[in-house]
């Protein structure tokens, strides 16, 4: 960053500090702290921890057990801050690496974390909306997303119609309330006008109340509040105006970090929030993204290598071994023998059970016009006419009868075989009389 610009940067950071303190954040450090943090100076660490803690404790609703923690207890504070950072998606190295790294983190790391917190989820806007609660227009701003990390999604009612009716009813009632409010306001105005008439006629025009009663102190209080809010909004607008400069400065912080060779383990911990890209598409940011990209592509490479290794191992397991056996252990004569055996067995099987797949292959269907005959998927080996898809019922019946006869013959053969076997066995046993089951 050029020298001429750095003066401007100071202004930018000062406007941020002003806005933060206007938003009710305690002990906001000066612009110089930010500058020193950019160069990772030790003395800025404490201030930044405090700032981060104060901002996060405003934005995130701590669990009640956490809120009692002494803000001055440094390690507890650091613990809360780092867990909150982790919750809102900041994944720097020092957050992943255990407690020792958290204690050792430099001011630049904290500054970057602050950038992350500010850029994610419209933190400043939500704080602004909270502070200036009287401003209805701000109600439309997106809420802080920090605390909503674990929130469930809204469950829509099942019946859309029911829902729409409810919605219309709600809009109606809301309109009614609006009208009621207007009526009440008109009544109030009337009362005020009448009161004014009564007062001015009873006390005369020459005696204005010297000491305005509570109503006017209430008014002045309101006025004061309005003024504060207007001031706050002005500060916010100033900041919005200068914000792009801040983010480009933040990019320069990251550059400084990347250029800094001393803690090499930190260089790959940088991650940028998605929103900051929308704020300022600075060129420096491309570098940080490139850093992240490098890390990702490295990871991808590792994964690919791992995947390849696994695949190679799997490849080793099955096909090559089969190859070995084919080529080495089995001779060609053995192979022919096996093949013959297999073929024989297959033939037997087809003959014995041919009926089962054949009968399953038919499907009742309406006869189609010959022109629209579907393409037959395969040629049947059975001796039927070949009209597998659209066999006539009589043909099917005939075929089924033949199969039945075949099966019955086969059954008879088996039975006979088994009976002979049994008789043989029985003849081998002495003193045992086996009575065969009744013939069915």
């Amino acid at each position: 960053m050029q020298r001429g610009k750095s003066v401007k940067v100071k202004e930018v950071i000062e406007s941020l500090c002003k806005l933060l303190s206007a938003l009710g954040i305690d002990s906001v450090p000066g612009a110089d702290t930010f500058r020193r943090a950019k160069f990772n100076k030790e003395d800025a660490v404490d201030d930044l921890w405090t700032l981060l803690y104060n901002i996060l404790s405003k934005a995130v609703r701590w669990e009640c057990s956490c809120s009692v923690t002494q803000p001055h207890d440094k390690s507890a504070r650091a613990g809360l801050v780092s867990s909150a950072l982790w919750q809102c998606g900041y994944g720097a190295q020092w957050l992943q690496g255990g407690w020792s790294l958290v204690e050792e983190v430099g001011s630049r790391g904290l500054l970057l974390a602050l950038g992350w917190v500010m850029s994610s989820g419209g933190l400043l806007e939500s704080l602004l909306a909270e502070t200036a609660s009287g401003l209805e227009t701000l109600a439309a701003l997106p809420g802080v997303s920090l605390g909503a990390a674990g929130g469930g999604s809204v469950e829509w009612p099942r019946q859309a119609e029911q829902w729409e009716r409810g919605l219309r009813r709600l809009q109606w009632e809301q309109g009614k309330l609006r009208f009621l409010w207007r009526s009440l306001q008109a009544a109030q105005q009337e009362r005020a006008a009448l009161l004014h008439q009564v007062l001015s006629s009873s006390s005369g025009p020459s005696a204005p109340d010297p000491d305005p009663p509570t109503g006017s102190t209430g008014n002045s209080k309101e006025l004061e509040q309005l003024r504060t809010e207007i001031r706050l909004l002005e500060i916010y607008l100033d900041w919005k105006h200068l914000e792009p400069l801040f983010w480009s400065w933040m990019d320069s912080v990251i550059d400084a970090k990347l250029a800094d060779p001393s803690p090499p383990s930190h260089t790959d911990a940088v991650a940028m929030a998605p929103k900051s890209a929308g704020v300022e598409g600075g060129c420096c940011q491309g570098d940080t993204e490139r850093g992240g990209l490098d890390r990702l592509s490295e990871m991808l490479l590792m994964l690919q290598v791992g995947l390849r290794a696994v695949r190679a191992e799997q490849g080793d397991h099955a096909p090559p071994r089969a190859r070995h056996r084919d080529v080495g252990a089995v001779t060609s004569s053995e192979k022919a023998k096996i093949q013959e055996k297999v073929g024989c067995r297959l033939h037997d099987l087809t003959e014995a059970y041919a009926s089962i797949p054949a009968s399953g292959g038919y499907r009742l269907r309406l006869q189609e016009h010959p022109a629209h005959q579907p393409h037959r998927p395969r040629k049947s080996t059975s001796c039927q006419a070949g009209h597998q898809g659209e066999a006539q019922a009589s043909m099917v019946i005939q075929e089924l009868r033949e199969k039945e006869a075949l099966l019955l013959r086969e059954l008879e053969r088996w039975r006979r075989g088994h009976r002979e076997e049994l008789q043989e066995l029985v003849s081998g046993l002495e003193g045992v009389v086996l009575i065969p089951p009744l013939k069915r």
Binding site: Q171, F179, S183, A187
Partner: protein, 452 residues
Amino acid sequence: MSVVTVQLGQCGNQIGQELFNVISNDSNDAQTCSPRAQGKAYHACSRERFFNEEASGDPSARAVLIDMEPKVITQTIAMAAKSGRWKYREQSFFCQKQGSGNNWANGFRVHGPRHQEAMGDLVRREVEHCDRLAGILTMMSVAGGTGSGVGTYVTQCLRDDYPHTFILNQLTWPYCTGEVIVQNYNSVLTLSHLYQCSDAILVHENDAVHRICAQLMNIKHISFSDVNKVIAHQLGSVLQPAHTAHTQSQYSRNPMGELMSSLVCHPEYKLLSLCTIPQMASSSLPYSAFSWPGLLKHLRQMLICSARMEEGIDWQVRAPSVGQGAAETRGMQELGFNTSLANLLILRGKDVSSADTGGFLDPALYCPWLPAEGAISTWRSSLPFNKYEKSATLVSNSQSLLKPLDHMVGKAWNMFASRAYIHQYTKFGISEEDFLDCFTCLEQVISSYKHL
């Protein structure tokens, strides 16, 4: 608590004058009614609502007259003065030498902005004379140039100047067969703009009122004055003092607010239609007798079949039974059933406390998302209105204006599709995109009412 009336253009000024006539006559008649105290209270309330007490003792209307030509305003002021009972305040009018030539864009883009300050000052002066501003009533037609164009502009300015005041627009819709060739353009532009800034739009259709004149009043040669008298009578029956549900013992101090919170709470539905029963020639009034059950039975059927008068009601149209689904309701709507969002029933006259309004409590009359108890309100006044011994008026936020609106938008769209007369509007800065926006807005309104 008072209502400031803004009369715009020829139509608005003429109807306004008739309205003040009706109100003045009616409240004067009330003074002679028995019991005396009641009549006096009615008179006082009506006076406070619509008239200033001038130092001279003559009541002057809380009204601002706006037109771009002097002719009608001069006539109107003269007619009011001639009545001898009330008048317009001096210097409460604004007029120019040159009219808007039936061009909405001319009124909205040229005359309106040019004279914004002068017109605003007139209204402000009237508002400052009110102890409490109950609301602003603007009256205009949608067909012409001044009433619709300037009127729309003035309504927008009023909304800016008085963001929390109730604004009721009384619109007169032109005859279908129309006297102005671009009346449908003007209507579409007016309605779509008013839908954004007005709280409620009360519509009188010239065709319907004309039929009332012809069939109920037996007028042979119907003039604008006759039509305006009927409109004024209907408006007066709504705006005159009445007891509402919130004010049992005294007259409502918040008529506009109560009207709106019973009818137009939902921002998508702002169109109100009116029907009154009975309506007849004043000469036959003394020979007629009515009973509340008969009047209310007719009025209910007029609501159901969306008729503007009791003559020739279609008694075949019935409300769907309550348990039926949306499909059956659609079917009944095809057959002519008019689904209501909300209704306001105003009963005036003898034995009004005995009138049973149970027929209007039927949930079948209303859309499914608003319970009938919340959708119907009743105002009562035991004094006769405008010489009618008994009369009932129904202000309805229902589908009854759907058909004429659809017709109007359809005709305008056909003209727009052939780019007819568009250059007359573009030369004053109303672009084709503006037209498209207006069509979109009204299509949304049509769709909302169709799916009620």
